[in-house]
């Protein structure tokens, strides 16, 4: 009986410890433990990560600090950020631009990004391979890029409050990993559409650089022929995920 309770208890202890540390950091060190914020958010459900971070570290506080032990440093405004397109559902009928839904996860689990200036080609190829591994309903379609400053400069209704935060959320096998989240806790429904519009504009107006053309084909050439075939298949079946889903 006790053995079944132990993991839950430990998880609870971890959360309490994390919260206590945040509390102490806030009032004694006059700061926020950004490692702790990230860890706590990772323990929450995927859907609640954005809210968890914006609640614990309002005003994009943790942009100035490393959030992960694997970090290579905070994401600076001058950096270029890339977001990889894997799902045909996210691409328009013509196949040249993403739909606004491509950025919808800034309100929930966060949008994954790659930091162009520190991401070696081999690391990106490994990221793509890991993401596609064992799945039949996706392929690497292409990449969208934006300047970090353009993302951080996005405002809702020309307000003064930053609408999106870009955090350094490096992972052990992908140190160039970063994420963007909605800065507001539980963004208003009417604001979400505007945020998607601004994000799409910041990311080259939604225009996709095809996977084989990204970095002059360097990442594409790192992929196995099998993954290249899967990706090519995904790209030609744009807009018809239903057939891919059903066959998976």
């Amino acid at each position: 009986m006790f053995s079944s309770l132990t993991p839950r208890k430990c998880r609870l202890c971890s959360r309490l410890s994390s919260r206590l540390k945040q509390f102490l950091d806030r009032f004694i060190r006059r700061g926020i433990d950004c490692h702790g914020v990230y860890q706590a958010a990772s323990e929450n459900s995927k859907e609640d990560r954005a809210n968890s971070i914006s609640h614990a570290a309002p005003g994009c506080y943790c942009e100035k600090y490393r959030m992960s032990k694997s970090s290579r440093g905070v994401v600076v405004d001058q950096e270029a950020l890339s977001r990889f397109v894997f799902f045909p559902m996210h691409v328009n009928t013509k196949g040249d631009k993403v739909k606004p839904t491509f950025f919808d996860q800034v309100h929930t689990s966060g949008c994954s990004l790659q930091r162009e200036s520190i991401a070696p080609t081999a690391e990106l190829a490994s990221f793509v391979s890991n993401f596609l591994e064992g799945s039949y309903d996706r392929g690497w379609i292409g990449v969208l890029s934006a300047g970090c400053k353009a993302v951080r400069d996005i405002r809702i209704e020309d307000g003064i409050e930053q609408a999106l935060c870009v955090y350094d959320t490096a992972e052990p096998n992908n140190p160039a990993h970063a994420e963007m989240f909605s800065a507001r806790r539980t963004a208003m429904e009417a604001d979400r559409g505007e945020l998607r519009f601004h994000l799409r504009a910041a990311f080259s107006n939604g225009t996709i650089v095809p996977a084989p053309a990204y970095r002059d084909g360097a990442v594409w050439n790192h992929l196995s022929p099998a993954l290249q075939a899967v990706s090519a298949k995904g790209a030609t079946k744009l807009g018809s995920l239903s057939s891919l889903q059903l066959s998976a």
Partner: protein, 201 residues
């Protein structure tokens, strides 16, 4: 609906022709012997139910003719042929795409997305159905929260509609620099008054 009036404009016919027509049409069609006893038989009444009202009115009119009825069948057949042979319209494709999402399950995007919300899909389908014939058709989209959406990405129009599944639409529309956004009620029957002007191309 137009058939009886069409028939009445045809000239008189002989009594024999009229009787023949009535006899032919009021007799329920017989079904050929069934291939097997387990095969479900189509009740004859079903085959004739659509014809009877016309025939009743026909009986009252002595001016009907076999030629007129033949003409009617030809017309109906032509319409039916047109219905079955015509290509699927862009609007029907759009609606079909949205409806197909009902098959998706949780985590359809591999990143923890919620299963599509049936009420939201219905609202999006209803909205697509009442768009004006001259309106530019949008593209369909599915949000991670399971909501269906429609969007336009044209030179002079950008619009993002999210169907919240509770009879409301969250919208953001940008037209030549002017931005409009909000949440409004949608009863699935009538186009909200704000959209025709904002979505006009």
């Amino acid at each position: 609906m137009t058939i009886p009036s069409r028939l009445s404009v045809f000239g008189t016919a002989s009594a024999a022709q009229a009787c023949l027509a009535i006899t032919l049409l009021s007799t329920p069609p017989t079904i050929s012997p069934l291939a097997s006893s387990s095969e479900q038989q189509i009740p004859p009444v079903k085959k004739t139910s659509t014809r009877l009202p016309l025939i009743k009115s026909e009986r009252e009119s002595t001016s009907s003719s076999v030629a007129a009825l033949t003409d009617w069948f030809t017309t109906v057949n032509a319409v039916l042929m047109d219905e079955s042979d015509r290509p699927t319209t862009a609007r029907e494709k759009l609606i079909g795409e949205i409806r197909s999402w009902a098959l998706f399950k949780e985590n359809w995007d591999g990143e923890g997305a919620s299963a599509p919300l049936a009420s939201s899909l219905r609202e999006a389908v209803a909205f697509a159905g009442i768009l004006g014939e001259s309106d530019l058709l949008p593209e369909a989209m599915l949000f991670a929260a399971g909501h269906a959406g429609l969007f336009w990405d044209e030179e002079k129009l950008y619009a993002d509609l999210e169907f919240l599944g509770d009879g409301r639409i969250a919208y953001f529309i940008e037209r030549q620099g002017d931005k409009h956004k909000g949440v409004l009620k949608f009863d699935s029957k009538k186009m909200p008054t704000v959209f025709p002007a904002l979505l006009a191309t």
